[in-house]
């Protein structure tokens, strides 16, 4: 029989506490076992599987990595994968009721459909704008009265769709196949009344989410661990309580045999369980079941904000991670060279 608790692979979820939280796969932790890094072993254990893909979001599993690695990818997707957003707003005229700085702030948040790969990042905010690092938009809206009684105003809303791209230099050719524009043209930025107008020049630059959240390419990027419901074969769920047991879990997770009233866990549906611990509240189920999560089984859910298709976000995060490692490695190598020089 499989032991009920495997503290190496399972994070134990009890009624009022969690147990076996930290990973222990380090050299020296278990006498006589080798836990040193091996790329071959890692390749054997690693499983990456895409589960669901839509035009806006992706679900994928990464199995066989440590939480620190999974968390690094999550953090990079949120804060360090670059996108292009409006950063500078030059107000020529704004007679709307929204003050300049508030309107500028709102405009900055609008997600753009620009592929960040074709733009360069400014090294400092003072760097001279060029056609490679800056993209120019105009926003010119004036509200007027119309003769239609149903809709008495023309252009009484400033919408993200009013942003018009002004190509500069080589941008004409680079963006010919996909003219830069907001991903959603229906975002209301300000409301106007007849006689009021907005006239602005907007400069979009490439940036990262750690500088300002508007640059984050994801709406959410999160992971959770795969739930694992372990039924105790020594103490089956009483048949008269099978339905009550089923109701303690998310829909579809527990199956009941219609003839014998024995319960079992649906291996596909278990990933959707919320691990609510409701089952642990009832004395009749004491000892029947243990709730766990699998330590190295990460279920990612990532929603794209529009700059990248959702399936490109993880590869971009991997790319950013590798270039970060490369920068540190170069610095470490030059440190070693200096050290050798000093000792000679």
């Amino acid at each position: 029989m499989q032991p009920l608790s495997d503290p190496r692979r399972h994070v134990n979820i009890r009624a009022e506490r969690v147990a076996d939280v930290s990973s222990t796969d380090f050299p020296g932790h278990y006498p006589g076992e080798d836990h040193s890094w091996s790329l071959d072993k890692f390749k054997q254990n690693l499983q990456v599987k895409v589960q669901k893909l839509s035009q806006r979001s992706i679900d994928f599993d990464i199995v066989g990595v440590d939480a620190s690695i999974a968390n690094a990818f999550r953090r990079i997707m949120i804060a360090e994968v670059p996108t292009v957003c409006i950063e500078s707003v030059y107000v020529w005229n704004n007679t709307s009721v929204i003050v300049d700085e508030v309107l500028a702030q709102r405009i900055g948040m609008v997600p753009l459909n620009v592929d960040p790969a074709v733009m360069e990042m400014k090294k400092s905010p003072d760097e001279q704008p060029t056609d490679r690092n800056t993209m120019v938009f105009k926003l010119q809206v004036a509200c007027t009265r119309s003769t239609n009684r149903e809709e008495p105003y023309i252009d009484d809303q400033v919408l993200s769709g009013h942003l018009t791209w002004e190509p500069v230099g080589e941008q004409v050719d680079v963006f010919a196949h996909k003219p830069p524009a907001p991903t959603n043209p229906n975002i209301v930025l300000a409301k106007l009344r007849p006689g009021q107008e907005v006239n602005m020049e907007l400069h979009a630059v490439k940036g990262v989410g750690k500088d300002h959240a508007k640059f984050s390419p994801v709406a959410t990027a999160s992971y959770r661990l795969l739930p694992y419901i372990q039924l105790n074969p020594q103490k089956p769920v009483p048949p008269q309580h099978a339905e009550k047991f089923q109701k303690c879990f998310s829909k579809g997770v527990i199956r009941i045999d219609p003839r014998t009233q024995t319960v079992s866990v649906d291996p596909e549906a278990v990933r959707d369980d919320t691990v609510s611990r409701e089952v642990l509240r009832h004395p009749e189920f004491e000892g029947c079941v243990e709730l766990k999560r699998i330590r190295d089984y990460f279920l990612f859910n990532v929603e794209s904000e529009g700059a990248y298709p959702p399936e490109r976000l993880l590869p971009e995060a991997v790319h950013v991670f590798r270039s970060k490692i490369d920068t540190i490695r170069e610095a470490a190598l030059s440190l070693r060279a200096e050290d050798v020089e000093m000792n000679n």
């Binding site: 040193s36 790329l39 990456v48 690695i69 360090e80 991997v318």
Partner: protein, 112 residues
């Protein structure tokens, strides 16, 4: 410029002369690299101790402490760990691309 960019890595004072125990300050990095690097260094059986910290949230640096067995160089261990971390990233990236191209997965239209 008054405030020049600090070096990417600095060995902090108090390190052993043979670098068998040293604290490295890495500029412009956070928990993202800190925790992953700490994990990879701890996978090295020659590392006696490894830990990292973000000393202050408004200072853009992390500190990684490495202590080695047998008077080995912690700098070598750091360089090796960075290479291993790069291999790991490459492997995950390849496995993901493979799954994206070959596996069967649900495709659906998400309403906005």
């Amino acid at each position: 410029m008054a405030d020049a960019v600090p070096p990417k890595i600095r060995i902090m004072k108090g390190a052993e002369p043979d670098l068998s125990a040293a604290t490295y300050q890495i500029y412009d990095e956070s928990h993202t690299i800190g925790n992953a690097l700490r994990w990879m260094l701890m996978k090295n059986p020659k590392v006696e101790f490894c830990g990292y910290s973000v000393p202050h949230p408004s200072e853009n640096t992390i500190q990684v402490r490495i202590q080695m067995y047998d008077n080995l160089s912690s700098l070598e261990a750091l360089i090796a760990a960075l290479s291993n971390l790069d291999d790991l990233c490459l492997t995950i990236g390849e496995a993901y691309d493979k799954s994206l191209q070959e596996d069967k997965y649900t495709r659906w239209e998400e309403k906005s």
